[in-house]
Symmetry: C2
Subunit: 419 residues, 2 copies
């Protein structure tokens, strides 16, 4: 009835070969450090010894403990209604007793879904992305998906590595924000491989994406500045000048300037991770030819610039008006509250999620691949009106400008959707 044997791996154990007439046979049963075998005991009368704590119990352990086959255990877990209630109860007790939890590996290996989604973000230090992630996480948790997160710091090589890693993990889809979506070979690769993904914040019509219309938003924002009488407006951008978003925002800036007969300037690049503004930048902003208004490519940058100006004893908005981009909740807590073009970050995350799931489930009926969400113009109090003939120098001397004048731009307070 029992046959002593040596497994190929060199482990010893006993193999119970049931007589052919025996109704319920038991599985061979070997754990690394010790030998266990289930005698042909009646359910409940088990002889099972719980494996060492470090050994995660498997379905076999449960089966042996309960005195049933692994198939029955599997059914008890995945289709409880198909098993005898008494059996079910016994199996459940064994599961509890062993603290068993089914390994997703076995399941996935069987070709089931991994219910795993990869998220690739430049950084989570920027609340813009943290807010997106928050939205994604909320939905993922509700729908029983797991998230695997990787950050890239805007680095192309890390983007590649992240996507590679995530694909290895057999994610069902990817949600990502890349530096530059249009010219991204990796995304072509994903398309080609049939790997489903949705971009966030990457403003492109060529790929599945969710974002605001960066160009239009910037255009409207700068128009507002112009409507406040500003004629010398500079755009500041972060190190992500290689980013599609920053570029589009600069296009919007340029168009607004040109429409008003003004000359757009190249974006001034800022390292907004530095503690201080670079001297050359500060010179730009404080010199006699300095602009009266600044359009910052993102809110974090705007905040750093505001601090720099304050240290240079320039008052915002009296000496300099500031408009940010992102609509960071934090901006409202500043003094004065930061005027900003707001993107619905959390909603971008949620939308990206929904679209990805729709693609995965094949219910992605929408022909248009990219989704453009409405942005908002948050007035804040960092924008002051100046008389149209005022130049930088007079603006600095002028005391007639008042923060309250910023309210006059309220006609711009609107939600735009570029559908």
């Amino acid at each position: 009835m029992f046959t002593n044997f040596i497994t190929p791996a060199g482990r010893t154990g006993f193999y119970h070969r049931p007589a052919s007439r025996t109704k319920r046979a038991c599985q061979p049963f070997v754990r690394h450090a010790f030998v266990i075998f289930a005698i042909d005991n009646r359910p409940g009368e088990n002889v099972y010894t719980k494996p060492a704590d470090t050994m995660t119990p498997t379905i076999k352990d449960v089966a042996a403990h309960a005195g049933f086959s692994i198939a029955t255990v599997s059914r008890a877990i995945n289709a409880p209604h198909t098993v005898n209630p008494v059996t079910l109860e016994k199996v459940r007790q064994s599961i509890d007793a062993l603290d068993f939890r089914p390994s997703p590996l076995g399941r996935q290996l069987r070709g089931e879904r991994s219910r795993l989604i990869g998220v690739v973000l430049p950084t989570i230090a920027n609340p813009v992305f943290a807010e997106c992630l928050q939205g994604i996480d909320e939905l993922a948790a509700a729908q029983g998906f797991r998230l695997m997160l990787m950050t890239t710091q805007y680095d192309a090589e890390r983007e590649r590595h992240a996507i590679e890693t995530l694909r290895e993990q057999r994610v069902e889809g990817l949600i990502l924000t890349v530096a530059d979506a249009d010219t991204h070979p990796l995304l072509d690769e994903l398309d080609h491989a049939g790997m489903l993904y949705v971009l966030m914040h990457n403003d492109t019509v060529r790929r599945p994406s969710v974002s605001v219309d960066n160009r239009l938003a910037a255009f409207e924002g700068v128009r507002m500045l112009i409507a406040h009488g500003h004629r010398h407006i500079l755009m500041l951008a972060g190190t992500l000048a290689a980013s599609d978003r920053a570029r589009l925002r600069h296009v919007g800036y340029s168009q607004a300037m040109q429409q008003a007969g003004l000359t757009p300037a190249p974006a001034l690049e800022i390292d907004f991770n530095a503690d201080e503004l670079a001297p050359s930048v500060l010179a730009h902003l404080t010199g006699s030819q300095r602009p009266t208004a600044l359009f910052c490519s993102n809110d974090l940058l705007a905040m750093v610039v505001m601090r720099g100006l304050r240290r240079a004893h320039l008052d915002v908005p009296r000496d300099m008006s500031i408009l940010g981009f992102d609509g960071l909740a934090m901006g409202e807590l500043l003094a004065p509250p930061l005027a900003s073009i707001g993107s619905p970050n959390r909603e971008i995350g949620c939308s990206a999620w929904r679209r990805l799931i729709a693609r995965i489930d094949g219910t992605y009926a929408d022909a248009s691949l990219s989704l453009t969400l409405p942005y908002t113009l948050r007035e804040g109090a960092t924008i002051a009106a100046i008389s149209s003939h005022a130049d930088a120098a007079s603006a600095r001397r002028s005391h007639e400008t008042t923060p309250a004048a910023a309210q006059s731009g309220s006609s711009y307070q609107a939600a735009h959707s570029a559908g």
Copy 2:
């Protein structure tokens, strides 16, 4: 030589049974939608058809494509030096041609490490946790680990679910911040199950953790306020009054007050997710009995309170001094820059990571389970000195108070380590 057969799954295919003398035999080869078989071709002369794009290639595909066995492919990947260079090259070409990437599932199934770490955070909307995560992510990426992230919104049930999910995923360890570490049954469970974890921010000596000494930090912070002449100091805490950190901070506050012969007040609870301060709270802060200084349990809260005060036309720090907790980078960008007790969030994340890995690798020699990191007192400019006899009313009228006076507390500017 070829036997037509029907697999149990109902798929048809051809099985190549090599004559016993045949040197190189081929594996049976069946894909879902179509039949492929590798003829006993010489390497390089393959008859393999690439499967549909949606089908992730497996090691079998590579083997068939290259005309070798899966064992050889496996070796080519994991132990290149053991295979014939010519073979190796052919296999590599097949891998490239099919864009094959080994599934971690198969590997893990073989009992290898999952190289997966679970991270459980209350929220990533709070930069405190985003910064921690950033630190963790950096190290994880460098060491080839993957991160699985779940957030809990301080909810016990979600904490339970997150840990459960992560354990199912067979993470090698957990890094987490829970609402209350000492009385957490889940953590006992983890201990009991031998599941390795490290807490972040949870200030407890009973469990593996990394944090600052919240009590001492609050104590020193409030002492600084007292040294600036404040006698009526209130502590504000968020909805996380059920949090161990907030509680310890309140203990520190109370001790500092008592040491100075002052009467500590219960913490005033604030919902800092709300847009506005609750009227009752505002009444507390603006009434005739109002305090001259506020100790806020976290920076986000401090910022919301500052905005509330501004709207109530109270000036910070002239009418009210504010001390926060967290040392959020953002706080420095405020006007005035927020005084805060800083915890090295990023470093907390990194340390937690290192300790977890040390535990996993079994190199965790340190007898002390909890690590206390030094905090800093960031002066900022939201704290003003008042003359020791001043009460709230006179403080409001007084103009002799100057933000610069905050500098007088610089003797407190120090790093403390409660080892």
